[in-house]
């Protein structure tokens, strides 16, 4: 199996996996970075969202062989101590129910705020609609994004 060197959360890793292995399974099975979740495997639910050069992507669709030197950030690397404005806003609004989709929601919201620091409701709807929350915390997620956007 080929060896791939990856830059994840500012750390260099080397993994020995099939070239078509999705980043999601490299993170979860090889690197023990379990915050990135498996939901659908086809880029439809957003549970596996990570940052790829600062932009939100679905890690289940990124083959390891295509990553190269690109910087990857996962929920574990979003902040030092869970103190990213989006994480803080999530806690303030006590968003999670089951919590499973939330690291993907947070990663997507954090990427949105980099691109658009003051999103409107419509902007939030457009940017977040690829992230399913089966428990229905959508109202709180929107409030939390607005709180974070004012930080």
């Amino acid at each position: 199996m080929p060896e791939y060197k990856l830059r994840i959360n500012g750390t260099s890793y080397s993994v020995d996996v099939d070239s078509d292995t999705p980043l999601l399974w490299v993170l979860r099975d090889e690197l023990n970075l379990l915050g990135t979740k498996f939901g659908c495997g086809i880029g439809q639910c957003g549970a596996c969202t990570v940052h790829f050069q600062g932009a939100a992507v679905r890690s289940c669709l990124i083959e390891v062989s295509t990553i190269g030197i690109s910087e990857i950030t996962t929920i574990e690397g979003l902040s030092e101590d869970g103190d990213h404005p989006v994480q803080k806003a999530w806690l303030e609004h006590d968003v999670p129910q089951c919590g499973y989709c939330q690291s993907g929601q947070i990663m997507n919201a954090a990427a949105l705020l980099i691109e658009n620091p003051k999103p409107t409701d419509k902007d939030i709807d457009n940017a977040m609609s690829g992230n399913i929350c089966r428990c229905g915390t959508y109202v709180r997620i929107k409030q939390a994004i607005k709180t974070a956007s004012n930080q």
Binding site: D18, F38, I42, D94, C98, G99, N131, Y138, V139
Partner: protein, 730 residues
């Protein structure tokens, strides 16, 4: 103060070391660790020694308190609200409490199940007693230490004081001496007015871990030496696996084994698998290699029963409704009353099969040896799993342990234990620890669906527009959705409820608010239409009926409290300013009682670009005492969105026995842009013992939605999903 006997579930309050199996509790902290993340800033140090006061509570020498949350956490937030109840009666500072998930222990805890919105309702007394008993023992230990009577002592926030003196004793200092004291025969519970923690909004104890991506879920569980496994079940209902290219699969990279497992057990119970009992199992090193091996499977399937289709399903249900049905309740003479009626209206409603689609697909860890089985993962029914694994392996219950992880959603799916049993069967075959993982496709096409339903309602009004006759008949694949003793039963002189089941080989199970999730929407949309026919305001129409049920109920088996029912309707009427017209806003209302709680909802819709957009939802709730108000609001918001989403967009259809939707590219769940812009929740304030909220928020949302859509579009919505052939919302 209420004095209460501690005999009820007394074993829970005994010292742990004295009870069989108690050792399991100690040291079970592989997920939570000793101290939760949120406690970092606290002044209390990590204890050197912990003292087990009873099955729910251990106190450290520094005063830090661990409270075990007995029930499975599926997102309903019981891991916060159940320990809050213990902490209230224990009288300890919440900042000094660490919560841990208790493992399955039927000797200690009753009702370790997440289902039917019963955790809080059934936990209320045992949890209060656990706290009160421990507090009493700590007081007794202090009294003994100081040589005084317990009556001269008082306690607040974990500090015991003399009422007329200066001495103080912290729980941490006295805990060691409370261990081994006799459990009091009788304890005093707090007056509700003295509650300090209950009815305050306490944040989710796992909030910080969730937002930082800590491994909390079953899918995240790891064990040294563990292999991974996947299953392949037949693609269609009515099929069975015959054989497959075993040799080819076994030689694939990273694959260590492939075989057929059989999870047939003697005398299967309600929570056991009914459909696919033989499955192909593939074992290997990594998830991706297993996924590739699954794609390479070449299987010979055998047809064992008739392949079904959605058209066939509808036809079968229509035939059931047209045939002789079981009469489950009859008041007065409905037949004569319908003949006498000036106006008669009849409408039919339907809803499709639905998968649960928890965001975390099914998975379980199992480590089976010759003499024991260890199971760890997401289950709503650990006790049922333990029983089924015991039957499968022929091992006594005592040799099986089940530990629960946090669950990425439940909605009823994880009441059924097949995936845990499958993990055990695979572990037994390979002779080592294994974690079974379902793909989304496995999860969505495996069955255990919400049943499909069809129901017909009929109402008769007299010349003064009084409701004088009412009929409901319903069927489903396979169960009937009718609750014969629910509203409007008890309010109509001439009433009939009929039900019958319709056969299918599609496997079904409980899905959030079973039956209510369909029948509430049907009933509440029908009543809206009846009110319209009677020329009455829909809330006033319902209140008029409920007045009758309060003053002069028909029949004796009505299963709701008409005053509390009317109470939520009045509250939502007031809070939503019902009756006040807002230009561009179209409103619908519904109210429902299920799972012991009362909920009324008003939905406001605006037409934007010719599409309905939900602007706001107003909810009024009577669930008795509200333990954790903000978390309760969250649960209601979730229930409303869940109800709206499934009624609008979701359906699972069949062709030749094959589910036609297997992932989120074909199966629609509600998304951000379709969610209501705001959901406000109001609680009726009373001192009634608390009831649950996992389910009651969902059913009325479907009725209120259908009624608001009618106001907005002029069209009635009878068949779910409402938007299947219509422009998409939002």
């Amino acid at each position: 103060m209420t004095k209460i006997q501690t005999q009820y579930n007394r074993r829970s309050f005994l010292k742990i070391s004295a009870a069989a199996g108690g050792g399991m509790l100690i040291g079970f902290s592989w997920l939570t660790g000793c101290i939760s993340e949120g406690k970092k800033d606290e002044t209390l140090a990590i204890p050197n020694e912990w003292f087990d006061i009873n099955g729910y509570i251990k106190i450290g020498d520094t005063g830090l308190v661990t409270i075990y949350s007995p029930n499975p956490e599926i997102g309903q937030n019981v891991r916060t609200s159940m320990p809050m109840i213990v902490a209230e009666e224990l009288d300890v500072d919440w900042q000094h409490v660490v919560v841990e998930q208790a493992p399955l222990n039927t000797g200690f805890y009753n009702n370790q199940i997440a289902g039917g919105s019963q955790s809080i309702r059934r936990g209320w007394h045992p949890l209060r007693m656990a706290g009160a008993t421990a507090r009493r023992m700590l007081l007794e230990a202090t009294a003994k230490e100081w040589g005084v009577e317990v009556t001269v002592l008082t306690v607040a926030n974990g500090i015991i004081k003399e009422i007329n003196g200066d001495r103080t004793m912290s729980y941490g200092e006295i805990a060691s001496k409370a261990v081994g004291l006799d459990v009091p025969e009788e304890v005093e519970l707090k007056d509700i007015k003295d509650f300090k923690l209950i009815s305050t909004s306490v944040k989710n104890v796992d909030g910080k871990k969730i937002v930082t991506g800590k491994p909390l879920f079953g899918l995240d569980f790891q064990r040294e030496g563990m292999q991974l496994a996947m299953i392949q079940h037949p693609p269609a209902f009515g099929m069975k696996v015959k054989d497959f290219n075993e040799a080819d699969i076994k030689t694939m990279p990273g694959i260590s084994d492939a075989f057929i497992v059989d999870i047939t057990i003697p005398e299967p119970g309600y929570f056991d698998e009914k459909g696919f009992l033989q499955l192909i199992a593939i074992v290997g090193k990594t998830t991706w290699q297993l996924m590739k091996a699954k794609k390479a499977l070449q299987v010979n399937w055998e047809q064992i029963s008739e392949p079904e289709s959605s058209e066939m399903h509808l036809k079968r249900m229509e035939e059931t409704l047209a045939s002789e049905m079981g009469e489950s309740r009859k008041d007065g003479n409905p037949e004569a009353a319908f003949k006498k009626a000036t106006k008669v209206i009849e409408r039919s409603y339907s809803a499709p099969f639905l998968p649960h689609n928890t965001m975390e697909p099914m998975n379980f860890f199992a480590n089976v040896t010759e003499t024991s089985a260890e199971l760890i993962g997401p289950t709503q029914t650990p006790q049922a799993l333990e029983g089924s694994v015991s039957k499968l392996l022929g091992l006594p219950i005592e040799d099986i342990t089940v530990n629960m992880t946090r669950m990425g959603g439940g909605f009823g799916r994880r009441l059924y234990v097949n995936f845990g049993v499958e993990a055990a069967a695979i572990s037994k075959k390979i002779g080592g620890p294994v974690k079974l993982i379902y793909t989304r496709e496995d999860d969505m096409t495996q069955g255990t669906y919400k049943p499909a339903y069809l129901a017909t309602y009929k109402a008769g009004l007299d010349e003064n527009n009084n409701l004088i006759a009412f009929s409901v008949k319903g069927t489903g694949l396979p169960e009937s959705p009718v609750f014969e003793n629910r509203f409007p039963a008890g309010t109509v002189e001439n009433y009939i409820a009929e039900k019958a089941s319709t056969k299918t080989n599609i496997t079904t199970g409980a899905w959030r608010a079973p039956r209510s999730h369909f029948i509430a929407g049907a009933e509440q949309s029908f009543l809206d239409e009846v009110a319209e026919l009677a020329g009455k305001d829909p809330i006033d129409f319902r209140l008029e009926l409920l007045d009758k049920a309060i003053s002069n109920p028909i029949g004796k088996r009505n299963d709701y409290d008409a005053s509390r029912y009317a109470g939520v309707l009045k509250l939502v009427k007031e809070k939503s300013n019902w009756g006040q017209e807002t230009p561009g806003i179209h409103r619908g209302v519904a109210a429902y009682f299920c799972h012991n709680s009362y909920v009324a909802e008003v939905i406001d819709i605006a037409m934007e670009d010719n599409k309905p957009k939900i602007k706001k939802v107003w909810c009024a709730v009577d669930c008795g005492i509200v333990i954790n108000p903000d978390a309760a609001v969250n649960m209601m918001q979730g229930g409303v969105i869940d109800g709206i989403g499934h009624a609008m967009y979701s359906q699972l259809t069949f062709k030749d026995g094959l589910p036609q939707q297997s992932n989120f590219n074909q199966y629609r769940l509600i998304r951000h842009s379709q969610a209501p812009e705001a959901i406000e929740v109001f609680f009726v304030e009373n001192n009634i013992d608390p009831t649950g909220l996992g389910e009651p928020g969902l059913p009325p949302a479907i009725g209120a939605l259908a009624n608001a859509l009618y106001q907005a579009t002029g069209e009635r919505y009878y068949h779910q999903p409402f938007m299947s052939y219509k422009p998409v919302m939002g």
